[in-house]
């Protein structure tokens, strides 16, 4: 499979929504016409300057883009190696990269005349972003969230409610992100006429993986321009964390055809990637399967039953990964590694102390890998890590994990 690299890594998906064998449209017949309609609408919008003008305006004045590319001087000194830059997507409105994509999908929903927006959420960041943009445009918003996550992410649940969204706790299955996504699909199949499903990551049936990637690619496009301006050349190394993989794909995609740029995705290794399967590292610890509308690497047992992931970060706690990552993994264009809960917790504290930035637990995984990698690289190696979310939501989890009393 790896013998003949393509001329470009940026042309996918094909007309069937495939990245190699990954991706596709594995949905029930009821949803198929809706997905085709969405694809048609997105194809139109993609080349419509008015659509992108509206996006740019909202990105600039509502989200606060471009997010800074920040030279992390003390972190660089502390680690003693590569020159580390942080792409500050945690400074976006709502505190994470999620809103980049939500804005695009809600503008599409408006173009399609849909009045009711549904979304799934794990940690609550995508739910908060969706509730926010729905409030901004006066749309009904229903967020499905595993009952377990509702319990452990109370501040975000309250935020969504303040923003006027209805939060539906999902008790089916094992009551986490995967089950929330099942329940959102069940709602969509029931309310096909007026409902738009706003997926939070680069997964799901075609066209979602490509569409979400395109909306998140603003991260990589800005990084390219900002690095050219700061250093007069492209970065040498990119690092981002991966649950479903939307912040990583957003940073990586504009650089895929620059062979000198080394690209690394960091999965959540939980308690360690081994036969206990107490992790959420689909690429390092899973195998290809079909779930939630696409073929991709999945955590599953020998009989093809889906396993529950584990990660200290609720946002990475998903047994699958976007199909384009699966393809980039098999093609060898992107390196995928994993770090454990404990390593992420250490990195979380390192960022607080050296840079005065409280990171979300998700990018703390990326930082944990940077902490291992940077010391092995020369000082002229320009490394960009995507700081994709801020950590206010995680302080309770971290306090519990390090044994602190609030």
């Amino acid at each position: 499979m790896n013998d003949t690299p393509p001329n470009s890594f940026r042309t996918g998906p094909d007309e069937r929504g495939r990245f190699g064998i990954f991706g596709g449209r594995f949905v029930s017949e009821t949803l198929m016409p809706l997905i085709l309609a969405l694809e048609a609408e997105y194809e139109k919008a993609k080349t419509d300057p008015a659509f992108w003008a509206e996006m740019d305006d909202l990105w600039t004045h509502y989200v606060g883009r471009p997010s800074p590319l920040y030279f992390a001087e003390r972190l660089t000194e502390h680690l003693g190696g590569a020159k580390i830059y942080l792409k500050r997507d945690e400074l976006n409105h709502t505190g994470a990269h999620k809103i980049n994509n939500v804005l695009g999908q809600i503008l599409l929903a408006r173009r399609m005349g849909k009045t009711r927006i549904i979304a799934e959420t794990g940690a609550g960041q995508h739910g908060v972003a969706t509730a926010t943009v729905c409030a901004r445009f006066g749309l009904e918003c229903i967020v499905f969230m595993g009952a377990t996550d509702v319990e452990r992410q109370k501040p975000n649940v309250f935020r969504m409610k303040l923003l006027g969204a209805k939060v539906v706790p999902v008790t089916a299955g094992r009551a986490t992100l995967k089950d929330a996504m099942n329940e959102a699909l069940r709602d969509w199949v029931t309310n096909v006429e007026n409902t738009f499903y706003c997926i939070g990551t680069v997964a799901g049936p075609h066209p979602y993986p490509a569409m979400v990637r395109d909306f998140q690619s603003i991260i990589g496009k800005e990084t390219r321009a900002q690095m050219m301006e700061r250093e007069g050349r492209l970065p040498d190394t990119l690092v981002a964390c991966i649950g479903g993989g939307s912040n990583a794909m957003g940073l990586f995609h504009p650089f895929l055809d620059d062979p000198d740029v080394r690209i690394i995705g960091v999965e959540a290794g939980g308690h360690g990637v081994d036969e206990r399967m107490e992790h959420a590292a689909s690429l390092t610890g899973g195998r290809p399967g079909v779930l939630h509308g696409n073929r991709t690497y999945l955590l599953q047992d020998a009989d093809g039953q889906i396993l529950e992931g584990h990660s200290i970060s609720a946002g990475l706690d998903y047994p699958g990964i976007g199909p384009e990552h699966s393809w980039l993994h098999d093609m060898g264009r992107v390196e995928y590694v994993s770090v454990t809960d404990d390593e992420a917790l250490e990195a979380f504290q390192l960022s607080c102390r050296t840079e005065g930035i409280i990171p979300a637990l998700e990018p703390s995984h990326a930082l944990a890998h940077v902490a291992k990698l940077a010391p092995t690289l020369p000082p002229d190696n320009l490394l960009v890590m995507n700081m994709c979310g801020r950590g206010d939501k995680d302080i309770f989890t971290v306090a519990e994990a390090i044994g602190a009393k609030l």
Binding site: F26, S28, M32, P33, K178, N182, V189, V192, D303
Partner: protein
């Protein structure tokens, strides 16, 4: 002529609609489930749909989700589902069995290995919810080559433009999903369903069975008047979930079958 085609031909000659029942294989355990399956033909079931349990049944309501969890909890695997079909087939050569479920367990076993084992066990057809016509190369075409019917779902959102795609590569019968929604949800309305059945029958030339939201003998009778067959699943599975003994489950199935056949 396949078992499915023979069954629909003989029912047509008798002027009857088919009664199709769904239960989840291995729910609540292998032995109980096999006992129920073996009793279905005598209870009036014309076509048996046997569920292959999956952890993430995205098109199913709570009743069938829970049935799948019970089956998985009892250690049901796809191999055991095929064992069950083989055990049934040893004593019944005429009642068609259709396996219904989701693609990943099949993909995990390997499509060719699965089809060979299914054919060997005596399976007649497949309904795989998350494989629309756009993904026919995955399983539908190989199944057809292996001599298994690939039965398609048609839904209220399947408009006239899509019907030819739905009709392509399918055989046996078409399963018309009477509502937009999940299994066991809202009630199906016979008056609304009738013209849809006509539309699907005209486009495919196949018998049309109607399912989703049919829960009582009366509802089964009403649908049987306008369709070639009636499918009941959640209402039966709910009784198994409540701990009903096989005899009680089969009594309920008989009342549904009588409703469907008496029309």
């Amino acid at each position: 002529m396949s078992r499915i085609e023979a069954k629909f031909a003989s029912l047509k000659a008798e002027g009857k609609a088919a009664f199709v029942s769904f239960i989840m294989a291995g729910d609540p355990d292998y032995e109980t489930s096999l006992e129920i399956v073996k009793g279905l033909p005598a209870a009036g079931v014309d076509v048996i749909e046997l569920g292959m349990p999956f952890t993430d049944p995205m098109a199913d309501g709570p009743a069938i989700q829970l049935a799948g969890q019970r089956a998985l909890g009892a250690g049901t695997t796809l191999r055991r589902v095929l064992d069950m079909v083989g055990a049934f087939r040893a004593g019944d050569q005429t009642t068609p069995i259709i396996l219904m479920g989701y693609y990943n367990p099949i993909y995990s076993m390997g499509v060719d290995a699965f089809l060979a084992a299914a054919k060997e066990a005596g399976v007649d057809g497949l309904i795989v919810v998350d494989l629309p016509p756009e993904e026919d190369e995955e399983l539908c075409l190989p199944a057809n080559r292996a001599g298994l019917h690939f039965i398609r779902l048609a839904t209220p959102t399947t408009d006239d433009r899509r019907l030819p795609a739905v009709a392509r590569n399918t055989s046996g019968f078409v399963y018309y999903v009477s509502i937009t929604g999940i299994t066991g949800a809202a009630s199906a309305n016979a008056a609304c369903v009738a013209p849809e059945v006509e539309r699907v029958r005209a486009a495919t030339g196949l018998p049309v069975c109607v399912g989703f939201g049919i829960k009582t003998p009366e509802a089964a009778a009403a649908i049987a008047r306008v369709a070639d067959g009636v499918v009941v699943g959640s209402a039966i599975v709910e009784r198994i979930g409540q701990g009903a003994r096989p005899g009680e489950v089969l009594d309920f199935v008989r009342s549904l079958a009588d409703g469907a056949h008496g029309a």
